[in-house]
Symmetry: C2
Subunit: 226 residues, 2 copies
Amino acid sequence: MSECFDQRIALTVDVVIFTLLDNALKVLLIRRRREPFAGMWALPGGFVHPQESLEDAARRVLYEESGATDVYLEQLYTFGHPDRDPRQRVVTVAYFALVSADRLPLDVQSPRSSERGWWPAYEPPPLAFDHADILAYALQRLRYKLEYTAVGFQLLPETFTLTELQMAYETILREQLDKRNFRRKVLAAGILEETDAFKSGGHRPARLYRFRREATVESTARRLFP
Amino acid sequence: MSECFDQRIALTVDVVIFTLLDNALKVLLIRRRREPFAGMWALPGGFVHPQESLEDAARRVLYEESGATDVYLEQLYTFGHPDRDPRQRVVTVAYFALVSADRLPLDVQSPRSSERGWWPAYEPPPLAFDHADILAYALQRLRYKLEYTAVGFQLLPETFTLTELQMAYETILREQLDKRNFRRKVLAAGILEETDAFKSGGHRPARLYRFRREATVESTARRLFP
DNA sequence: CTCTTATGGTGTCGGCCTGACACTTATGGT
DNA sequence: ACCATAAGTGTCAGGCCGACACCATAAGAG
């Protein structure tokens, strides 16, 4: 590291906030009021304050825009192409967050204003800046994590049925999964615990499960070499 | 993304440069001449110039400090704790690079000055700033990538024997691998091609292999769900 | 009360991948 | 020629995975 000079690069965080609503994977977008890209949709973001860590900044943006706290948040990638912002040099540290719908305030779940909305993550509107790249990268990472780890619970309420869990996986991966194999694997992974409650919705009641907090989230992945 | 104000956060890149020398995984460190941490060892790094992308900055630092070009380089993580630098707020985008020893200029392979040196990656000296964290994270990522992908070739010369490849893997993973299983797997992955050359070093000659450039580097990983 | 309907829940079998394991082959040096 | 040393090769057993079909249970309709 050489010594310092002033270079005036602005630093922001952008947060890709995912949730499941109406059996679809949604992402929170904000409509831009000012130039550049006025009127277009963009990821929630903001400048990093001088005394706050990057993750703190991301949590602040997450809370300001979605009202959610204590949710899964992970650094995604840092985007710094010199002209990704036409005004000045802006480098952004992108995060992605998984929020279960029941942790969102009601006015955020169904925003009244047209300035903010939950969009289908796989069919977003045109986005400002390089946010389409950021979203695409976040989706890739989410699918990847879902395939190798147990992070899907973060999008569900405290307790859930195995069918609900499977539907969440199918929604995000966009493919059908075999019910028996899904159950076998997810139970063998040892990351769920039964509750003694059931969910009865007109038909045979389904057992509710809960995520085992003590279980390491990075569960069963396979190694190329032993 | 809200609108801009001046916040004077400095932005740097730090590059964890790995190579294999003397049958050990080494990392390039630079001795700091100035405060803070004067006299301590640190990762090569530098400020991001106003008109260059993050990856360009990382390649520039990589070239300035090691003389290597056209090598494997990947963004690692962005470290931004508010007081990771005691002078001022500095956020650093860390990269890691894999360089085969034969692409290093001779004076870099065996530096004369005591201001720069290749240190055992698993037994580094005390490091300035939070560079020990960055190095630990890079090692974890390197092991991970090695287990799941075929990235190990980047540390070897253009052609190499399977035993050399296996030794590289054993050095980095710090465990012994079975010769027959290693060969079976690495050949089944289809990322190598035979050359018709052999390496004869006093005993039975070993066939030389080459990395198939057309092969996708992200090769055979396993999915948790089909 | 019974029947219908819709979802919840369960087991097996074959194929493939993986990990454990030992001997023969080829060369250079003595 | 003999020896030392590294290169190179195959099998077998266990576990994991993917494919596949039927019974159980509750609510609601008649």
